[in-house]
């Protein structure tokens, strides 16, 4: 009872504090802060400690301490039999990881970025995702594929793609994408414990960001349920859905919109597959307007699925067409000004929310 009350109070206090993230950083706070990197590292450490079947595999995860230092210290702690540096051969080592999972081990396979997962995508889809179904439950695949996904900064077209929509379309996979440190810890621990293949999409630019975490989040048993979205900020006028880095942008957009008297409800999806359709639809039934935000390519994207879901389930509740904010429909350019145009910015989310609330008129279509 007390624990639940404490949780509610903490949750409420964070609801008020979180929109002013910058304030939290400049004042010393009683709440502990950890970076997303620390969150992921501690989650891996705890799960490896709890279950000897969990092991890590990937390029530079061991002696290099991780290309992005996510696996720092783990080789020293668990030894080379459980933290394995692989050659640069994604198809080979991903297949080996999946085979180990067939046997009953719990591999965590790191892709240095998910762009390289395309070299191994046959094993993720055909060897991992479909096996439980094709074998009628004989061969389950308790594997996690993790790594940075989506745009970084100035890394160009081949290193910037978001794979959320591709993987999330595939039955048999679970696809998660954390935003803050609490998400990173809770979702990664849940992913490792889950008996199915999980694609875990991190974000390189978030690794260094700090977020407040409660004692509950820091506890080694902390887990976030897979398939449940989180309402990061409550509102009544427009629903904004986002995942990963875009949650931060959506929250900032909500602050700006509040000044205009538009109260946006920001939903952190956390789970792309299964998609929490009930939370999204319940929110849209309350606000009657929806803006979907994602970094990835727009066509056949996550926003397209959310829009379809809302049109199917909550059509009568929509007072405006669904707005989609996504990465530009071009390969990622290098030049800084073009790159800025290729990725959603806070003002894009604000503008779309205003349109959904009839506060602005879209540009006339080109002739």
């Amino acid at each position: 009872m007390l624990a639940i009350a404490r949780q509610r109070i903490l949750g409420q206090s964070f609801q008020k504090i979180r929109p002013a993230v910058s304030v939290l950083r400049s004042y010393s706070s009683a709440a502990k802060q950890i970076t997303v990197r620390e969150a992921l590292n501690s989650a891996l450490d705890e799960e490896m400690s709890a279950d000897p079947k969990v092991f890590l595999m990937g390029e530079e995860v061991g002696e290099y301490q991780g290309a992005y230092k996510i696996t720092k210290g783990l080789l020293e702690k668990y030894g080379p039999e459980r933290v394995l540096d692989t050659p640069i051969t994604e198809a080979g080592f991903t297949g080996i990881g999946v085979g180990a999972a067939y046997y009953g081990l719990k591999p965590v396979v790191e892709f240095m970025t998910f762009n390289f997962s395309m070299q191994a995508i046959d094993h993720i889809i055909n060897s991992a995702a479909k096996s439980n179904y094709m074998s009628a439950g004989q061969i389950s695949v308790p594997i996690v594929f993790r790594g940075p996904n989506g745009a970084a900064a100035g890394v160009g077209a081949q290193h910037s793609q978001c794979y959320a929509s591709w993987y999330a379309s595939c039955p048999g996979l679970k696809v998660l994408s954390p935003y803050n440190s609490e998400d990173a810890r809770g979702l990664l621990k849940a992913a490792i414990r889950d008996p199915d293949p999980v694609v875990f999409l991190e974000n390189e630019l978030l690794y260094g960001e700090s977020f407040p975490v409660s004692d509950e989040v820091l506890d080694s048993s902390f887990c976030i349920p897979i398939g449940k979205a989180k309402i990061e900020r409550e509102g009544k006028d427009v629903t904004i859905t986002a995942f990963s880095k875009m949650v931060g942008y959506a929250l900032k957009a909500a602050e700006i919109l509040e000044k205009d008297g538009i109260y946006a409800e920001v939903i952190n999806l956390r789970s792309i597959r299964p998609l929490d359709r009930s939370t999204i639809n319940a929110s849209v039934r309350k606000t009657n307007r929806l803006v979907t935000v994602e970094e990835g390519f727009p066509q056949h994207g996550v926003g397209a699925e959310i829009c379809a879901s809302v049109v199917e389930e909550s059509f009568a509740y929509l007072d405006a067409p669904v707005e989609r904010i996504a990465g530009a429909d071009v390969p990622m350019p290098y030049a800084a000004n073009l790159e800025r145009m290729a990725v959603p910015q806070i003002e894009d989310i604000v503008r779309a929310a205003r349109r959904a609330c009839y506060r602005s008129v879209p540009l006339a279509a080109a002739a």
Partner: protein, 395 residues
Amino acid sequence: MALSHLASSSPSRSANLLKPLSSAISLRRPISTDTTPITVETSVPFTAHQCEAPSRTVQTNAKELATFFRDMVVMRRMEIAADSLYKAKLIRGFCHLYDGQEAVAVGMEAALTKKDCIITSYRDHCTFVARGGTLLEVFAELMGRQAGCSKGKGGSMHFYKKDSNFYGGHGIVGAQVPLGCGLAFAQKYCKDEAVTFALYGDGAANQGQLFEALNISALWDLPAILVCENNHYGMGTAEWRAAKSPAYYKRGDYAPGLKVDGMDALAVKQACAFAKEHALKNGPIILEMDTYRYHGHSMSDPGSTYRTRDEITGVRQERDPIERIRKLILSHDLSTDKELKDIEKEVRKEVDDAIAQAKENPVPEPSELFSDVYAKGLGVESFGADRKEVRATLA
């Protein structure tokens, strides 16, 4: 030539002609239980790469030879029956038959225990049976019925038997090799003192992921044995058109390899036992089984546009694996020709019975469309073609 242990002379042999095989008053021990050692030479010596070839002298016994004979007859009959069922449209989609290659499946099984893992391609019916799968499970799966080994959800290419460490059954050419190396990794991780045999064809032998997996296996000393079932044709492409170097047993470079007559079950057994011992101590090794498939690549391939009928009949006459064991049994006086023919009749009936049973078996319940998508469904919703009409909650 081969040495015969049993000293019984011809006259007593003919006296047994009319007696059943397991007769209590027969003058020799029944073939099915006789384990007195017999020594046989393999048809050809092994060719080795980066290792010393095992001896071509193989230890066997009457019981083993009888098992080889019966098991291969079952496999042969099963595959031929599958051909008929496919033409009768009771089997749909892809159906890749193994007749001609039976010696690889039975020889390998004789050298392994059920603690060792086997993983193979889509040409998996006989490997499944060698690992303990039943004929009913085979035919029911091929016909998409509930009693199938994958409850009708997998089909010809997706047979599995985890309790015998048989991991399928894979449709993507070459994918099973890294998966097999992963099984070997797990066996080493768990200190199981067992090995994995990953089977692939001459077509798959050129796949990049094979070399990636072999590299890692060699670096990490994994107990992985890569077995190339070289039936000389990757679908319609002969090996010399697909591989610059069709000496598949040498393609491992730093990894040792052995070339084996894959139509000789005893040679297969010897090579697999040798490979198992090697892999447990020294890491990966490649076995190239020189074998042959009588059917085309699959049921949609007549198998005669890229090879001559003379070639096929030639192999059948000179190298058939069942005939080899039959000759061995007869020349060692372990059984009579009639007894062996009786076994074949018995097997034919067994296969026919299994088919009849499978035909009566029901198709999966519609709810099975949504089962086993996940091991843990989390109460998530899934949808049919018309999501307003058909929805399910995944348990």
